[in-house]
Amino acid sequence: MNCIIIDDEETARAIIQQLCSQVDELHVIQDFPNAIQAIKFLNKEEVDLIFLDIHMPDFTGFDFIDTLKNPPKIILTTSDKNFALEAFEYDCIVDYLVKPITLPRFLKAIQKAENATVSAKVETKTESSLNPTSEENELYINIDRRLIKINIPTINVIEAKGDYILIKTEKQNYTVHSTLKKIEEKLPDDLFLKVHRSYIINIKKIIDIEDNSVLIAKDVIPVSRSNRPELMRRLNLL
């Protein structure tokens, strides 16, 4: 199994590296002092297993998991037993190791990872609860460790803001650590359209269109020249 280690404490990373070196099937590709660097890595590479510290500044282990579309198997490593219950809410988490980690306990966790059929579970979860074409038509977003449900048709506009996206709904706005590309995959094609590199709009919410912009609620959204033909094609023009 190819794995990575994410922990802001160098001592912890060295210990997990050493534990991994004692298991022939494990190959540590890289370790990371924070989740952001790991996300960049995972955008290019696939791994089978992640050793993930929960308690990290700025971006927790759970925040990290929520950014992954198809998370691999994850073994949490922590000095805090209080997160155990929350960990069980994630299908991808196969075990929970409390530091300092001993070799026998580590080996048990690896055995669980090998036995786990997590990929299938994640696939099922994705299809049943996150796919907007399902009956619920719901999307869950992670805000401060809370999963908040959004009714997809109530979304007006989604705007890219660096490493974050701003989701504007009929009632409320939400800032989420994600990308337009990721959320675009969760949205129904017949309702949403990317009209600009920084904007996805709900075409049912358009009030009017003027040259290179559309008005949705009180927002004027730019429409790039290349996306305008597709937008016009989607409209029921008289």
């Binding site: 160098e10 001592t11 060295a14 210990i15 050493q18 000095s79 530091k99 300092p100 001993t102 070799l103």
Partner: protein, 106 residues
């Protein structure tokens, strides 16, 4: 405080590898004073929430050096700081100082 630091965990982990043992001790020698300093700074400015995060990190090293009661003290102190209760400070500092002295001998 009756507990004293030891290398049992690190030696078990090293499984005979002196290279790893020395590497890990080197990392701890570098990381521990930094974490302690950050904790003391936060504690001195009454930034108890941040100090609790520092205790959380230090807790791992306290466990690594074989403390059991001390580890529990760290857990209680971390929780206390989150509730603005610093009453275990002196007890916690004794553990840190004991580790600090121990690191000078290895």
């Amino acid at each position: 405080m009756s507990e004293t630091p030891n290398l049992i965990y690190i030696k078990e982990l090293a499984a005979g590898s002196v290279v790893f043992e020395q590497k890990l001790i080197g990392i701890v020698k570098r990381e521990f004073p930094e974490e302690k300093k950050e904790f003391l700074n936060n504690y001195a400015t009454n930034a108890y929430s941040k100090a609790a995060e520092n205790v959380h990190k230090l807790k791992h090293k306290i466990g690594m050096f074989g403390y059991e009661e001390g580890y529990q003290t760290a857990i209680n102190f971390e929780e206390g700081l989150k509730d603005n209760d610093p009453s275990l400070y002196s007890k916690f500092m004794l553990i840190l100082e004991s580790i600090e002295q121990f690191l000078k001998t290895i």
